[in-house]
């Protein structure tokens, strides 16, 4: 005796949906198997009852309208779901022209900054940004050159510095024999002529 027909095979046999070979094999088994035949009969009865209950639907049901209403209800449900769920923004497509314009503007601004902003201010801005990034509470220390014009003196000479520019006093290769700084805002360098001994004192002023 062959193997029993599975439940799904019996259901498909009743509805006539089994393939030709499977159907012939099932019929051969059902002819010889009492239990499978009883279960197949049970499926047949259920199917008959479903048809009868479907036949009890009102005669004037407009199936097309019913389908349209159901579709509309599904769409309303989807729209309501969109309102409740977090929106995922769709990235706006960026054309190459606006991108090129923005890149050009950025290059122009960087060039203008490089040409016009004194290095000291750039460094100061960099320090301030680093301080903010590192979360330091206090403001960074202000460099002396960021407070205004500065006069400086060293063994090599004197100079006036402002906005990152330096005006250095120089007498060629001659080095000053003395330099001095006055707290009222000036610096002086003293040069002695090697041949005559004549002394020349050159001064620069912050104001």
């Amino acid at each position: 005796m062959s193997r029993h027909v599975p439940e799904s095979g019996l259901a498909l046999y009743v509805s006539g949906d089994l393939g030709w070979w499977s159907r012939a094999a099932a019929r051969m088994h059902l002819n010889g198997c009492e239990s499978c035949r009883k279960r197949m009969e049970a499926y047949r009865i259920d199917r008959q009852r479903l048809r009868e209950s479907a036949a009890e639907m009102p005669e004037d049901v407009d199936w097309d309208r019913l389908a349209a209403e159901m579709t509309a209800n599904i769409r309303v449900g989807l729209a309501a779901g969109e309102c409740v769920a977090p929106r995922s923004r769709k990235p706006a497509p960026l054309g190459w022209r606006p991108a090129a314009v923005m890149a050009g503007a950025a290059v122009l601004m960087a060039g203008a900054w490089w040409l016009n902003t004194p290095p000291m201010q750039t460094q100061a801005l960099g320090r301030a940004m680093r301080a903010i990034w590192q979360g330091r509470g206090a403001m960074p220390r202000i460099g002396i050159e960021e407070r205004g014009p500065v006069v400086s003196a060293s063994s090599s000479g004197i100079e006036l510095r402002e906005n990152g520019s330096a005006l250095a006093v120089s007498q060629g290769t001659a080095r000053p024999v003395a330099v001095s700084v006055s707290m009222q805002g000036s610096a002086s360098a003293r040069y002695v002529d090697a041949d005559t001994g004549q002394v020349t004192i050159t001064s620069v002023y912050v104001q």
Binding site: V151, G172, A178, M183, Y191, V192, Y205, V206
Partner: protein
Amino acid sequence: MSSRLTISFLAIALAAGAQTLSRKIELPKDSPVTLVSADWGESSATPRGGAFLVDVHAGLSLRNSSQRRIRGVTLAVVAQEVTPGGKGSVSVPSLDVAPGDTFPVRIDLPLLRPLGAGAGPLVEVQLDGVLFDDLNFYGPDKLHSRRTMTVWELEARRDRRYFKTLLETAGREGLQKEMLASLARQADRPQPGVQMVRGRATNTDPEREVQFAFLHFPESPVQPTDGMARIAGNEARAPRLEVRNLSDRPIRHLEIGWIVEDQQGREFLAASVPADLNLAPGRSSQVFEDAALRFDQRTSIQGMTGFVSSVEFADGSYWIPSRSALEDPKLRRLAPPSPEEQRLAQIYRKKGLAALVEELKKF
């Protein structure tokens, strides 16, 4: 290759930008000096940002057209009066120019002049003052050159007198020994870099107040009695000094030398603190400068010393420290010699002892 092209382009642009300097030498009609010649050499004006960088390298020849001997001259070199970096000055002290004689003045100054600062020459040389051998002064004195040139002249007289006395008492050997010592001191004198800015810092490292110590000269008409400055690491600012007039004459100006000591005990003359005041005899007054000094980053300021370096009385007379006061070991090591001592030392170094003796005999 591209960097070469860029450099070439910049060089061409700079060469095109640099222009011949338009200049003017302005001497008053009654000036005691007249211009004989002017060589502007490599002077140029180059655009830099929103301004011209006016690089003045000039050699002037001036004639003493007065009837008195000239001891010093100060010229103001002005590209723009009110702009920082717009003006400078050149002084020539320790002169002895007879009436009718000529003397050279060398000008080497970089200046800034804003673009569109108006018509007229890019740079103007003006006479700020002439000091004569009788200590009379001529000139507008916009840069207070009268005071500085008078102090230099008094220092010159003091030092010439000292070296003449030395020649008389210790002979040529004594003078030679002193000149060698002077040259050695000049070579050894510490001169670390210092920066100065006017105005107050708004946020710096934690500060502490440090008291001044003072060098007292017995003959000084002014006694510094108290003083402090605010110190933060390598920066000192806002010096505040209390001074008392010990003389019987009112004082209108004084200058205090400011010596700084670092963490290794090294000392150097950092700056001078000038003060205009009206200090009656026996009264005290406060000297304050809202300015800051900054030294090398490795410098930590540990101590400060002040000394009175010059005083101007209301009657126009002056006081400067005597040669014996300058024998204080600290001052001897740190204070620069007078312009006259440096001139005499250079004559000795270049031309020898005989030339120095001849120079001392002149006046």
